[in-house]
């Protein structure tokens, strides 16, 4: 395992120390819980609190999206493992100003359980918490079981929209409504070309044969829809757009934002090559790209591969996307 780390069981602790030191202009950690990262802008104006949380190993997600006009606090878990209920609870407490808290997270068993318990704890403090659970990954379940779908890079759009809406002074219900619309309007699909290794484990816990790719792979290496021959960027783009398109959300004339995220070891160059092919296909379908984001926005350690996310826009969502933010991962 070729890694620049100290104790493999303490990679998250060690990372957080470096993160705090380097971004003290944007975030700080909770006084009593180093697994809670809080925006320096928290409570600088009265608004609905926005929190999220998830396993580590996805950097810059989740903590990179903590900052002014985006996420107010982030609960940080072990690698690929949900944060504790306490960390979610501490996030809730750190951001609540009496207007309630929106917890915007991804649909995974552990996160669902821990958020549920944190909300129960917050109820005792009479803090109102509502959730939006990202389920943008079309590969993870068929459309008639849409609630089982996992959240992947579409979570970034969810946070961007939720953060913006809350900063416009919306109520908790309004924030939830618009953010839920954002995720309902969002679809993602991933491809994996080679696996990743959890430091404490020391070996990849799945394999991808050279010359093949896992189409529909999840953010932690969850199995894809199919193993395909590794073909050209043009083919891959066409397969990715097609499966998203087949979900019957996007139509002729739509305006969308597109996010391509490398999963870790895929060079930016390849992400731009894929984007070019995606853009060509969308143009053919008469879909206009309002904004495009390309880069390692939501990774899986050093996995080779990428995700494609498309969000259907309306005027409200565009306004939310356009709001400037001050975070490490997004501008």
């Amino acid at each position: 395992m070729q890694r620049i780390i100290n104790n493999p069981n303490l990679v998250v602790e060690d990372m957080l120390k470096g993160y705090e030191k380097s971004h003290s202009d944007i975030i700080h950690s909770d006084e009593n819980n180093p697994r809670v990262i809080i925006s320096n802008s928290v409570k600088e104006k009265k608004k609905v609190g926005i929190i999220t949380g998830g396993g580590s190993g996805h950097e810059p997600a989740f903590l990179g999206y903590c900052g002014r006009n985006m996420v107010d606090a982030v609960a940080v878990g072990e690698i690929f493992s949900s944060p504790t209920a306490k960390s979610f609870y501490d996030c809730i407490r750190a951001v609540d100003q009496g207007m309630g808290v929106a917890c915007l997270y991804g649909n995974y068993a552990g996160d669902n359980m821990n958020v549920k318990m944190a909300i129960e704890l917050a109820e005792d403090d009479e803090i109102e918490v509502k959730t939006v659970v990202a389920n943008d990954d079309v590969a993870s379940a068929p459309k008639n079981e849409i609630d089982k779908r996992r959240g992947v890079a579409g979570e970034i759009f969810m946070w961007k929209v939720g953060g913006a809406k809350s900063n416009m002074g919306a109520t908790l219900d309004e924030v939830i409504k618009t953010t839920q619309k954002a995720i309902n309007n969002t679809r993602s699909i991933g491809v994996g070309l080679s696996p990743c290794t959890i430091p404490a484990n020391g070996k990849p816990n799945f394999m991808i044969e050279p010359g093949t790719m896992e189409f529909g792979i999840g953010h932690h290496g969850e199995p894809g829809i199919s193993v395909k021959k590794l073909s050209t960027a043009k083919d891959i783009a066409s397969n990715m757009v097609e499966i998203i398109y087949n979900d019957s959300l996007f139509e002729n004339g739509d305006e969308v934002s597109v996010l391509i995220s490398g999963l870790g070891s895929t060079p930016l160059m390849e992400q731009y090559i894929l984007f070019d092919e995606v853009a060509k296909i969308l143009e053919e379908k008469n879909i206009t790209i309002y904004k495009a984001y390309i880069g390692n926005y939501f990774t899986s350690l050093e996995m080779n591969g990428l995700t494609l996310t498309i969000m259907k826009l309306d005027e409200e969502l565009k306004e939310c996307l356009d709001m400037p933010v001050d975070t490490v991962g997004f501008k």
Partner: protein, 214 residues
């Protein structure tokens, strides 16, 4: 031999469980490494050792269960935190209703804990998880009660049920959690959670048996 134990002053039963998880933590990680991400022992050890610090030596059995449950829920995260946390919290909540814990109360506690777990985690028997240890353990225990065996004997049956439950996971294909990544290839390995669940149930039964025999 008694057919009940006191709640009072029996936190050592919980400390025994913590001790066994601690001693087996490398083994649990090793099993998890075969089909998962190899951290089950580390995850468990972290949470259980944290709880150990907080449990006063001469406190009640249910008080210790409550502390363990709360620590797991609050401090280990992942799926194991809420799952085992809920399990121990529910055990505590049912058992603390009486000062003497007999075989019937213990059955109620197990059933409530199991139900809490099913509500929360959504795994079913056969998914290759800790449920595959817990469910047959409770079943064997209940059968023993129905056959009018003593508390001591019922606990013996529970251990047998837990053991064969754990072993049954070896031939299963994982349907949930990280190991489901492997599909058919997950066959041939014990499930890590099923193994830790066996250790927990087995140790708890042994310790209660010791207390009964006092």
């Amino acid at each position: 031999m008694k057919d009940y134990i006191y709640d009072n002053n029996n936190s050592w039963i919980v400390l025994d469980i913590i001790e066994q998880i601690h001693l087996n933590s490398s083994y649990l990680s090793e099993i998890d490494g075969a089909t998962g991400d190899g951290d089950h022992g580390v995850n468990m050890d972290k949470g259980f050792m944290l709880a150990k610090e907080k449990i006063p030596l001469d406190s009640n059995f249910t008080e210790a269960l409550k502390i363990l449950g709360r620590t797991l829920v609050m401090d280990i995260g992942g799926s194991m935190g809420p799952i085992y946390g809920t399990f121990f919290s529910k055990l505590s909540r049912t058992l603390k209703s009486k000062e003497e814990i007999d075989k019937y109360l213990f059955l109620d506690a197990l059933k409530n804990a199991n139900q809490g777990l099913l509500d929360l985690a959504g795994a079913k028997v056969g998914d290759k998880t800790l449920i595959d240890t817990l469910y047959p353990a409770i079943l064997s225990y209940e059968n023993a009660i129905n056959n009018n065996l003593t508390f001591y004997q019922c606990l013996y049956e529970m251990k047998q049920g837990a053991k064969s439950g754990m072993e049954s996971t070896k031939d299963m294909v994982a349907k949930i959690g990280r190991a489901s990544r492997l599909g058919e290839r997950s066959k041939g390995y014990l499930d890590a959670g099923a193994t830790s669940c066996f250790i927990i149930l087995d140790t708890m039964a042994n310790s209660i048996q010791k207390e009964l025999a006092k």
